[in-house]
């Protein structure tokens, strides 16, 4: 690596919880485990978060390599630019998903060299055995990224799992469509298992799968219970920490380690609440991180909010789960593990639909904001528009406009940057906007 390409030295970010502080080593161990698996000849799958195949991969003893995680690490270490530039040199537009561009830049470079790119963050992302894409309503790059990656790894097969969920609609009852969504998802997951058995030689352990399905249900419920503890005033944990604790949710689901992590976090939060220990001593403004993935290279901005007396007791980002106890069906009665996964998927993504139908003109995304605003006693909303990601960042402006229309006007701020492309970020401008937002919050409080 040339001198000018070295990532900028950064101070370690302050976390409120010990659990969040423990995440860094866990992630590093996860990356090392994948590298070790490669050396041992174990099957490795490139995987995406929120794809409903966690239990399947674990039950088949296939090692997941979370590509969004590795891109995020490059971003957090402020070392993504050289991989983004390499992808651009291959004719990928810089306006595309930068997670994908980082991964494509890295993988193509590794394949060209026949070894890891120089100074690869945390030893690098190894070549997988298979790549598991996903076609669904969530994100185009999930079915395009691995297809594009095959151009540099033509011997690595791809399986694309279709994982749709019903759209929120006024012109028909979405409940009437749930059955055929579930049927389709089950067929897709069966296809995935057939593919993995054929490509890796590993057979599905159906008894293990059933155990893991139950473990995921319990982990979902535990996470919801744990995050609900953050309603306390002062809140014992903020979104800055939640951007760490998303790791067991997104990358370790269907493992005992994830369950244990949240058991410990739950205990830690209860302890803090009992001692009235908050993220900050003098909590002036309670905010919701109401949409958008974070800038991984600028998580210190959460500390900057804290320095102004603002905390984030709740966020919508990375809460891709709901309490299974609150579903309108009893999941425990669904014994077939694939059907169970499919119903959990559909019920999770449609969780806010019936609630939204009860409020005239509402919409699930807005209804969720309203519920969190009330439950967590929120004073203002912060969102982040990452330029390279349409999946999670289109509709933010509209949600704020609609919230004002059907609920009430609230101070809001939409930050603009990217998930990992640091060239889109200006710290001075960002902090000036945060300052102005804090002034607004202050003015509203004084009214």
């Amino acid at each position: 690596m040339t001198e000018e390409k070295k990532p900028e030295e950064r101070k370690k970010r302050r976390t409120a919880t010990e659990a969040a502080a423990s995440i860094g080593p866990m992630v590093k161990a996860m990356i090392t485990d994948v590298q070790k698996a490669r050396e041992e000849g174990k099957p490795i799958a490139f995987t995406f978060i929120a794809c409903a195949y966690d239990e399947i991969i674990r039950a088949m003893d296939i090692v997941p390599s979370w590509v969004e995680n590795y891109a995020g690490i490059c971003g957090a270490k402020r070392d993504a630019q050289r991989f983004l530039e390499r992808a651009e040199s291959l004719n990928f537009s810089r306006s595309l998903c930068t997670y994908a561009l980082c991964g494509l830049g890295f993988d193509s470079w590794r394949e060209e060299l026949g070894e890891m790119p120089p100074d690869a963050p945390w030893g690098g992302q190894v070549k997988p055995t298979v790549m598991l894409g996903s076609g669904q309503i969530l994100c185009d790059p999930r079915n395009k990224w691995f297809q594009a990656a095959q151009h540099y790894m033509p011997d690595v097969p791809v399986y694309d799992v279709s994982l749709p969920y019903p759209a929120y609609a006024d012109d028909y009852d979405f409940h009437e469509t749930e059955g055929y969504y579930v049927k389709h998802i089950v067929e897709q997951l069966r296809g995935l298992i057939d593919f993995l058995e054929e490509q890796t030689g590993h057979k599905m352990d159906w008894a293990r799968l059933e155990e893991l399905v139950d473990l995921v249900d319990r982990t979902y419920d535990l996470i919801v219970d744990t995050y609900d503890l953050r309603r306390a005033i002062p809140t014992p944990m903020g979104t800055g920490d939640a951007m760490n604790t998303m790791v067991p949710i997104q990358f370790m689901m269907a493992t005992q380690q994830a369950y244990d992590f949240f058991t410990n976090l739950n205990a830690e939060l209860k302890d803090k609440i009992a001692r009235k220990e908050g993220v900050i001593e003098d909590e002036k403004y309670r905010l919701i991180w109401g949409g958008g993935l974070p800038s991984w290279f600028a998580l210190g901005d959460f500390n900057y909010f804290n320095s102004k007396g603002a905390v984030f007791p709740v966020e919508t980002t990375y809460r891709t789960l709901e309490s299974t106890r609150d579903f309108d069906i009893d999941l425990k009665k669904i014994k077939d593990p694939l059907e169970h996964i499919a119903w959990r998927w559909v019920k999770t993504w449609t969780y806010w639909y019936d609630k939204a139908r009860k409020r005239p003109g509402s919409h699930p995304d807005v209804e969720r904001l309203i519920q969190y605003i009330e439950d967590f006693k929120i004073d203002g909303i912060v969102m982040h528009e990452a330029f390279s990601c349409r999946s999670w960042h289109v509709g933010l402006i509209w949600q704020l406009n609609h919230l004002k229309k059907i609920y009430r006007d609230m101070p809001s701020l939409i930050l603009e940057s990217d998930i990992i492309d640091i060239s889109s970020y200006n710290e001075a401008d960002t902090r000036a906007r945060i300052d102005a937002f804090i002034d607004t919050l202050e003015a509203v409080k004084d009214r």
């Binding site: 306006s95 595309l96 076609g135 669904q136 749709p164 969504y181 402006i397």
Partner: protein, 388 residues
Amino acid sequence: MSAENSTGGLAIVDKYYQGYGSRARELKKQGKQIMGYLCAFTPVEIITAAGFVPFRIKGDVNEPITKADTEMETIVCPLVRSWFDMSLKGKYEFLDGLVISHACDSMARSKDIWKYTLGLPYFHFIDTSHAIDDSSLDFFVSILGTFRKSLGGFIGQEISDESLAQAIRVYNENRQRIWDLYELRKSDPPLLSGAEMTRVLVAAMGLPVQESIKLLEGVITEVKQRQPAVGAKLPRIMVVGAEVDDAAFIELIEDAGASVVTDDLCPGGREYRAFVKTEGDPVAAIAERYLRGIMCGRSYVEQKGTYPEYLEQRFGHIARAAKEYNVDGIVLYIYKYCDPFGFEVPAMKSYLEAQGIQVLYLEDEYSMSTVGRLRTRIQAFLEMLGTR
């Protein structure tokens, strides 16, 4: 003869192209119901069978996007933003409803912005699968069944198999007329310019299908009467990309000294290549045509065979069209923020170049403000083709 001094089909094309939406507005005044839609993945047969006039939303490269930015992020593909901007500015005030298909993130993720901001009497989102395997096709049949039921509920009447079958026949006929017109571009020089063809396609997508057929027949008759031009033969270009609903870019290429003789675009070669089967269940036939017939970057084609064979599966139709139309070079024209096509570029370009086809890749923003930069790149490409 150019469209400017035509009194036949091309003159009507010009009228409807310049005044896009004028016919739908007239029909609305006459009591017809107009159903707006985005993109080629909307099954217009079902809309027509329900008694609506389907009307495709179009953008305008000359109109700066202003109003849209108050509701929709600028990271949405500029084409979709332009469509939304035109809609907000009242260009399509005659619409009774809107149907959006899950073609790409820019459309799918903005669906609620469209729905709640425009507040039209009817709105439906078609959750079109990305995958095209058997399970996805069965799923898509169910999705279209829901759409059929929803639309039937809106009009207070079930949409019959007979009306669907009739709509299928008439749209197939429309597609055939378009291909007849494409045939007239095979001669060298072509009898119809690329810009004229784009104007025809755009004008047609704003008309009831029966009127579109009549218009196409008029254009075919007129173009067939043309005498082949004499003089130096120009490089023959194919344009490949997402949706091009404005002739400006095609004119730019042709003004630089080339003939655009075919394309893999919407509206255009990609969209009209596939026909709907006329036997069996009409909804199943429609589902198969839309899911598997339209070879678009937004769909996931399952790999069969080796990787080179996979490239042939995905892009072979483009190479075959290039050969069929005796193309000298391909312009790969991709909008900024277009994930489905943006991720295709390296693989598609290398595949086409391996077939001996020269490729120019351009990224653009659906705006006339970029014309100068594009012109320079196109001129250099044409010069390079000329020296080969």
